[in-house]
Symmetry: C2
Subunit: 337 residues, 2 copies
DNA sequence: CTGTTAGCGCTTTCAT
DNA sequence: ATGAAAGCGCTAACAG
């Protein structure tokens, strides 16, 4: 393995000083056109590539952003990551990916490792950390943005940006759609108790029903894992305990698809006997039979906006808007026409 | 923003030299137990975290691996990334993610940016680069592994590891299954022409048919984008040009789902009039109606093995096996029972 | 416009 | 068992 070409090599070969090379590299204007061209030619000739890590040591900026997600292979987060990466790339930042595998311990070590890598900022998605741990971890980084999670004392701590979905409005929208179709007995497969998003959607559910004068009994609401299997099992429980239900609102599309399967197994036609609404509009939602009515959320946008906010903060305009709430949109398909 | 705690701070506070702190940090054995404990306490007290970038400058190792994929949000690659990240994490490496967005130019710049970040190695998935560009780009990195792509002169260049799927066997397996069910007129929606995997599957298709004495006319084979829409459109063309087809083998599950939709629109019952087989077994495959028969590939394993190979190479045992070929498995469901 | 001198935070080598 | 000096590749701050 041959030694990496260094700036000194370029300087020597071009017959100039280190600084001149450095200036050319950083597009400083105080270099004569002639010298600049000569240096650039030498750089190309030698195949020189500056070392961001040496540069980072002195500038204190690595050009790297840590992006932490519970599970990259979850289509939800992989879209978020794609959005984040796109924006980062456009501004010449790179993304250091941290996958916590839904594990709190690991989330902590990942955050720590990002510290050692001296990232310029951290984008933390759906953190499962306790509030105090979260604050502590975040405060150790130069900048941070939270996605899908709010921090109670965010304003007081200063630097933390927040990007979330308008889960409450989404939930209201979905329930209102069902109410408009005449449904009154509407169940909710609510997802994991720890989910901030689930809380919001539940709130929307309650708000919309209350406005319509419906008081849902507690048994209409069931927690479940946010997966197809979780949805299938919980839908079965829910429908057997509360056969009066004519509609189901689901934490996300995967849960809704599980519910769809249960209805199939139980011989309950969707949407005629049971209407079903999901959340997220993952690509899958349009492809199942019947196609899923759902609240679309732009996960790509979530990632992109969060990264944007983070970079804005890093590159100066700190007092940019602290919290962004992204809207959702009801996509009406066959499962709840 | 308060200055980062440095090793010098720890040394001063603990009343020892920089070297002692460094030794403790790196678990060198020539430090008295007493001193070690004292230093460790100070480190904890100050919340000191070593800077991998300062360390990297001298050791020439950053503990970062670049992982380059065409599209993180593609379920195929997001699984690969998850596998890779898991292995990397286990060995104390971090993953710098590069998303090329299926763009060759961008693939080149990403690779370049990884160079500047001084990554210890690169894992390049489904590269679309021309052979010479690929060789050049790779040779500029300390170590590299190719996923889903071979390099003609790999052995001669030395350092490049390769991990692929056994696409040929997968294609054969799928076609053999159809032949066993009495199909003879079998079309192939072959995916993008540049895809190495597509080539392999096509080879498997030809081999299996030839062995059965079937000589498929060229019009039975159609290139298409590797997406649902691509599959839908191409299936429509294919079936109208060659109505004699009784089965379709598809480049991947997304294409197969597109084909499924076309059959629905055309009123051709699946599998009775047309049998369909996909490739990959993405989660979606089991959820569509009818459920998709497909060749399962462990994308997680692909990522994990590739990362393993790369790290093995980096950490010494270079002459580890140079090429890994992962098997596929036929999963029989309703679309081609 | 260009070069010189320091030093970023750490490890390596050589002393002690 | 511990420390001092040198330097990794680069840029900031001054000189000229």
């Amino acid at each position: 393995m041959t030694r990496r070409v260094t700036m000194a090599d370029v300087a020597r070969q071009a017959g100039v000083s280190l600084m001149t090379v450095s200036r050319v590299l950083n597009n400083k204007d105080d270099v004569s056109a002639e010298t600049r061209q000569h240096v650039q030619a030498t750089i190309k000739q030698l195949g020189y590539r500056p070392s961001d890590i040496a540069r980072g040591l002195v500038t204190r900026r690595t050009g790297v952003i840590g992006v932490v997600v519970p599970d990259v292979s979850n289509p939800y987060f992989s879209e978020v990551v794609r959005g984040a990466e796109h924006v980062a790339y456009a501004k010449n930042y790179s993304v250091l990916l941290g996958n916590t595998e839904e594990d709190v311990e690991r989330e902590l070590t990942v955050l720590q490792s990002l510290e050692e890598k001296c990232v310029d900022g951290v984008m933390l998605c759906s953190s499962r950390l306790a509030e105090d741990e979260l604050e502590e971890a975040i405060s150790r980084h130069p900048a941070a943005v939270l996605v899908n999670r709010r921090l109670e004392f965010a304003d007081e701590r200063g630097g933390v940006g927040v990007v979330t979905l308008d889960d409450v409005a989404g939930g209201q929208m979905a329930i209102q759609h069902l109410l408009d179709r005449g449904h009154r007995a509407i169940g909710f497969l609510a997802g994991p108790p720890a989910s901030h998003s689930g809380q919001g959607r539940l709130e929307g559910y309650h708000l919309a029903l209350a406005a319509a004068g419906v008081a849902p009994p507690a048994r209409w609401i069931k927690r479940c894992p946010p997966t197809v299997d979780g949805g299938r099992a919980s839908a079965r429980d829910l429908l057997s305990e509360s056969p009066e239900l004519t509609a189901l609102f689901c934490f996300n599309d995967l849960v809704a698809i599980g519910a769809l399967q249960t209805c199939g197994e139980l011989g309950l036609p969707v949407p005629d006997r049971i209407a079903i609404i999901g959340f997220d509009d993952v690509p899958l939602a349009a492809l199942v039979t019947p196609a899923l009515t759902t609240c679309r959320t732009s996960r790509y946008e979530l990632g992109a906006q969060a990264m944007q906010l983070l970079l804005d903060r890093i590159d100066g305009c700190e007092d940019e808007c602290r919290e962004i709430v992204l809207p959702t949109e009801l996509i009406v398909r066959s499962s709840a026409p």
